[in-house]
């Protein structure tokens, strides 16, 4: 098995914490797949299994006042940013207790309390938002950082390039985290990009950028801390290319015709959770009991979350048009009974002037 960059574990407690964080995401999503198969969850479901070290490492570098923008593969980002597993699952159930009251689903998780700005199912659609959030901080003199996650598929979109340019031009406090899992759905990086060195693309915009082993949670955390510190202290936008791999299918509807099983198996040897678990055990910092307890804790959390979602209430249809506009009156057109129908039912409304028809 390949190993972590640093065989030493910086701090046993912290190592255990990171292991727990990644395992929470893994178990949540394994449960999601199960619930999807049981038709409890519908729509599209994209799991992050294999990529957990990225969100787990980057989130460690953030402060509560910072902002996060993510993609449609964002269950892990939401969970690790502080959205409860219960609120996430309840959202996928379409329940009122969901983090978006059933309006968003798996691909559109939002949470104001943790400044989690989605959940965006348009590839690269979140990048301009992150630029704008950072612009607001800059103009208001706040020392906050906005972190924007996106896949390597996004670099083919115009919005990626427009956002790189704006962020660099205006020296905005944003950290771009490109989760390079090598496939944009089924299209391999080499089949879609003339230049496959993604960090180099960002560097072309005069953005400090470097590539990181995205399966090594310590390496991710270290890079993220370095980048976030630089961004926070006024160093302008930074860019991390996090080299990772998606172990599962793109979504629940993906027969995986585009990649070899042997390739997947090879990457699974670098499972970020196994790597860290192995490193901790090798360092004598993960006694069997601790590992068993940790798994039991995480299983309990997920099981409680499933119970929470199961016992939720479907968002009432009477609330359907709420939040289209902030003003509850909004555009009440559909809510009105058109006068003409009532008139037709009564055989025609008498005209005010009484004129003959």
């Amino acid at each position: 098995m390949s190993s972590l960059k640093n065989q030493r574990v910086p701090n046993p407690e912290h190592g255990l914490h990171l292991l727990r964080q990644m395992l929470r995401v893994r178990r949540l999503e394994e449960k999601c797949i199960e619930l999807y198969s049981a038709a409890k969850i519908r729509g599209f479901l994209h799991v992050y299994i294999g990529e957990e070290a990225v969100a787990a490492g980057v989130m460690e570098a953030l402060a509560p006042e910072d902002a996060v923008v993510a993609t449609y593969r964002e269950h892990g980002h939401a969970l690790l940013r502080g959205v409860s597993a219960g609120a996430i699952l309840a959202e996928m159930y379409g329940h009122a207790e969901g983090c978006c009251r059933g309006r968003g689903g798996s691909m559109h998780l939002f949470d104001a309390a943790t400044r989690f700005y989605g959940g965006n199912a348009i590839v690269a659609g979140g990048l301009p938002l992150a630029v704008g959030l950072a612009l607001a901080d800059r103009m208001s003199g706040r020392q906050r950082v906005t972190v924007c996650f996106f896949g390597e598929g996004a670099v083919a979109e115009g919005e990626f390039h427009e956002s790189m340019n704006l962020a660099a031009l205006w020296q905005l406090p944003v950290l771009f985290c490109c989760e390079n899992n090598l496939y944009a759905m089924g299209t391999a990086l080499g089949r879609s990009e003339s230049q496959t060195d993604i960090a180099l693309k960002a560097a072309g915009y005069e953005i400090s950028a470097w590539a990181v082993d995205g399966m090594d949670v310590f390496a991710v955390e270290e890079a993220a801390r370095r980048a976030v510190d630089a961004v926070r202290s006024g160093g302008g936008p930074h860019f991390l290319e996090l080299r990772t791999y998606r172990f599962r299918a793109h979504s629940m509807f993906d027969p995986e015709l585009y990649r070899e099983k042997s390739e997947v198996a090879q990457w699974m040897e670098r499972d970020p959770i196994s790597l860290l678990q192995g490193a901790l055990q090798a360092a004598g910092q993960l006694p069997e009991k601790d590992w068993t307890d940790l798994q039991a804790d995480v299983d309990a959390e997920i099981s409680t979350a499933v119970g929470f979602a199961e016992n939720g209430t479907p968002e009432p249809v009477s609330e359907l048009t709420r939040f289209v506009y902030s003003d509850p009156a909004g555009d009440a057109y559909d809510a009105e009974e058109p006068a003409g129908r009532a008139a037709a039912a009564s055989g025609g409304k008498p005209r005010e002037d009484g004129a003959a028809r």
């Binding site: 959030l133 612009l135 709420r322």
Partner: protein, 326 residues
């Protein structure tokens, strides 16, 4: 005071910038150039480059950045040079600005104002001349404004900035030079109601934006021929103030909708449908529509003019509606 539509717009921007430090203007050539239609001329000198922010030619990028800034507590006014260019930012406007509040279960409203020029009449051809505001009015979550008068050019922006949700303001290019009198103390106006700018009992003429001046001219000439028309300036295309339309049609029994957009699937179609739904038994004649011909707006002056609503076409429709066409 004597002013123009352009100056009234500029006064509105200046006023908003002075009243609320969260307000800033962002777009292509809004600063050093002075605005592609000179609306923001002089504001860079007054407010500086942070708040009169020139952008690269990245419509999706800077409109999205405006949405993000709005989420981050600012009150951005984003200028897009023409409605045709706004198509490059459709993803941000429709997939983000219009959806975030609902999709987030009420957590994230987007208080952005997006201004853009719309419409034809200046021989700019098909890629600078379309009227797509009716398209935008199709989208739940957006508020669509079309200031046609000096008072609205001066007064709609501030009210739009108070709206917690995204507001799109469509400024018809032919209106910028319109001059007239405006009260010295003119200020914010409502953005909920249509306005009846002329009263008559024979017919209801319904329009908005760039075609308002020609509809008023047609109404004048029809009146001279004994046909007195109500003229409704819609002002807001979404939410549509159907009450004003229905009240008028219930009294006049005849309606002509004038829209520079194309006829098929348009805001004029929506208005005609609402009249059918809500005032069918009040009608004495089919609803008439005067729209642009269904062609990309051409360059040559005679072709362009032939494609657009005109005083003559509005008068002919009005006469048909009242059965006075021979």
């Amino acid at each position: 005071m004597k002013t123009t539509y352009r100056e009234a717009m500029r006064a509105a921007l200046r006023d908003a910038m002075q009243r609320d430090e969260r307000v800033f203007l962002m777009g292509e050539d809004v600063g050093r150039y002075g605005g592609s239609f000179a609306v923001s001329l002089g504001l860079l000198e007054e407010f500086g480059p942070e708040r009169i922010r020139d952008t690269p030619l990245s419509e999706s990028g800077f409109v999205g950045a405006g949405i993000g800034a709005a989420l981050g507590g600012m009150r951005p006014v984003v200028e897009i040079m023409t409605v045709n260019f706004s198509l490059l930012a459709l993803d941000q406007i429709i997939n983000n600005a219009a959806t975030l509040l609902h999709m987030s279960g009420g957590q994230f409203n987007v208080p952005i104002v997006i201004r853009m020029t719309t419409g034809a009449g200046r021989q700019l051809g098909a890629q600078h001349s379309h009227s797509l505001e009716g398209w935008y009015a199709h989208i739940p979550g957006l508020r669509i404004l079309a200031p046609a008068t000096l008072a609205d050019a001066r007064g709609m922006l501030w009210t739009a900035l108070q709206d917690p949700d995204p507001v799109l303001i469509f400024e018809h290019g032919s209106l910028y030079n319109v001059a007239g009198e405006l009260d010295d103390d003119a200020g914010a106006v409502d953005i909920d109601r249509s306005a009846v700018l002329r009263h008559g009992d024979a017919l209801t003429l319904i329009t908005y934006g760039g075609t308002l001046p020609l509809v008023l001219e047609a109404a004048e000439q029809l009146a001279a021929a004994g046909i007195d028309a109500d003229v409704i300036d819609l002002r807001t295309l979404r939410p549509l103030d159907a009450h004003t339309i229905i009240d008028s049609v219930a009294r006049t029994h005849r309606a002509v909708v004038v829209d520079e957009g194309w006829r098929s699937g348009s805001i004029s179609a929506e208005i005609a449908a609402r009249i059918c739904e809500q005032a069918f038994f009040d009608l004495d004649a089919p609803v008439e529509r005067v729209c642009s011909l269904e062609v990309p707006v051409p360059y040559a002056k005679h072709l362009e003019q032939a494609a657009l609503p005109s005083v003559e076409r509005v008068m002919a429709a009005g006469r048909r509606a009242v059965g006075a066409d021979g």
